[in-house]
């Protein structure tokens, strides 16, 4: 992207951004609050009504409140995990590309190693190995922390390549000739050039983490009860009889697909901008 040029979004990307912001705002306003885990024993598996617009689940909990809570968890924690993996990628990949030599080769090998491991399987295993008395909040934090720690390799390789290109560029050579060197050169000349790629990698990671959590949730290894997430809400879909009785249970799917689609649409723009 030419410096000073304002990136333009297409109509569909503007719509995606607006939809994502709307969902984020609605879920972050705290609608639902404590009601998410409250059991209404007089309204078990109730159909939609004025009191419960999406009905209640088999434990009598308000589906809308749980959906709000689940969206909030995914919308807040997936970007946090993406930020963690992007920062790790920048620190490891960026530094390796800048330093070069043996460190660069080691980092590339380690990144290759991370990329060839079946991470969903390991994530599944580590999540399953959590102590049986882990609190729901700790389990949700650990799930996203693991996602963040495991996802650095792909963006790390990209940032390493970009840092290598920047390190060998004319302006860095010029800066070196002017007496700027070492880490000052890295921070002043290389890192600013990595920002567009960092931003793109961040946006690429967010929907991946939202979907990974959803997969873990569907397998019963996501966020522990009574806390909800988009993934844990999808578990209700495995009960086909209850679903055919109450199709509004599909609402988490609609929200999940909307969030992931909006993010994917925004990612394409970010990718284009970074190139």
């Amino acid at each position: 992207m030419t410096p000073g040029m304002t990136p333009r979004m297409t109509k569909s990307q503007k719509a995606a951004a607006a939809m994502f912001l709307l969902l984020a705002l609605v879920s972050l306003t705290g609608i639902g609050g404590d009601r998410a885990s409250l059991q209404n024993r007089e309204a078990i598996a109730a159909p939609p009504s004025v009191q419960f617009p999406l009905g209640t689940d088999d434990l009598g909990r308000d589906r809308l409140a749980r959906l709000m809570e689940g969206t909030r968890v995914s919308i807040l924690l997936a970007p946090a995990a993406a930020l963690l993996s992007t920062l790790l990628a920048a620190a490891i990949g960026g530094a390796a590309g800048y330093i070069g030599g043996r460190i660069d080769r080691i980092v590339v090998t380690v990144a290759d190693l991370f990329l060839s491991l079946p991470w969903l399987l390991l994530l599944l295993a580590v999540r399953a190995l959590l102590p049986l008395n882990t609190s729901p909040m700790a389990s949700v934090m650990l799930t996203f922390l693991l996602l963040g720690c495991l996802g650095w390799a792909n963006p790390g390789r990209m940032l390493r390549a970009a840092a290598r290109t920047a390190a060998g560029s004319d302006y860095v050579l010029h800066a070196r000739a002017s007496g700027i060197g070492g880490w000052r050169l890295f921070w002043r000349m290389v890192v600013p050039n990595l920002f567009p790629i960092l931003l793109a990698q961040f946006w690429i990671a967010v929907p991946i983490y939202v979907l990974s959590e959803a997969n873990l949730g569907l397998l019963g290894l996501g966020v522990s009860e009574p806390l909800s997430s988009l993934g844990s809400l999808l578990r209700e879909l495995t009960n086909y009889a209850s679903l055919s009785r109450n199709p509004v249970a599909l609402a988490p799917v609609a929200v999940l697909v909307t969030i992931a689609s909006c993010l994917h649409l925004l990612v394409n723009k970010e990718q284009t901008r970074s190139c």
Partner: protein, 283 residues
Amino acid sequence: MHALVKHLRRALLTLFLGGLLGATFLRFSPGWGTDERDLDPRLSSESRKAARAEYDSERNVLLYYLRYLKQALTGDLGVSRSFNRPVAELLRERLPETARSLAFGAAVGMLTGLALAIANAYAGWRLLDLSASLLGGLSLSIPAGLVALLCFWLRAPVSWAIALAVFPHIYRYAAQILKGAYDAGHVLAARAGGQSEPRILAAHVLLPSAPELLALAAVAVTVAFGAAVPIEVICDSPGIGQLAWKAALARDLPLLVGITLLITVMTVTATTLADLATKGGRA
């Protein structure tokens, strides 16, 4: 020949380190060494102590892993704690099911993605591009577990769920590769020289991009493996993915390390073959 040896050396190192990293990761995860029997009030303290002692041989992860590898070279992958059966036997039993669905799913997903990307790049029809992008975007926005659920409701085979998970990735990458190839200067020169569009596609776009397109096979295999776990669990397919899930729930380290190694072997083999094909194609 030198490149082949270098690739093989690298693949073996990745395998060794991958298995070690997997074992270390599991060994140092927060709840390692505890299982449900700790909470079973019917068990005496001696029984609980005996249950905990089962983990003693796995305490030093490096020793455990080296011993494990030494045994693995003789075909002995240890005994699964949860199934009480040899790990190699369990893997042998489950592998054909996964291999079948993965091979079919990855092949269908890859061919569909490639065919749509080629048709789109060649014809440039807006409607085709829009429908393929929409289908790809939608498939990328749905977790593999949900695709599996959909296939389960529709009584479709597991391999279709895997194909649906693989397709959008292949389509996206292939479309980017072909777009780059069509934008190249020599394509413009060929057009200016009056060559026909089918000839341009075959000789100036597909042929030069063949190594990169071939390398997408590695992407297909990696994505298919990632998707296999939730898909096999949801569709109740008795494959490696379902075994991994059961092993994870039962905290069965020997079985988990065996599965991790097996999947790493397959992923590394696919990546190495794709790398060699890419380099061979470029040479």
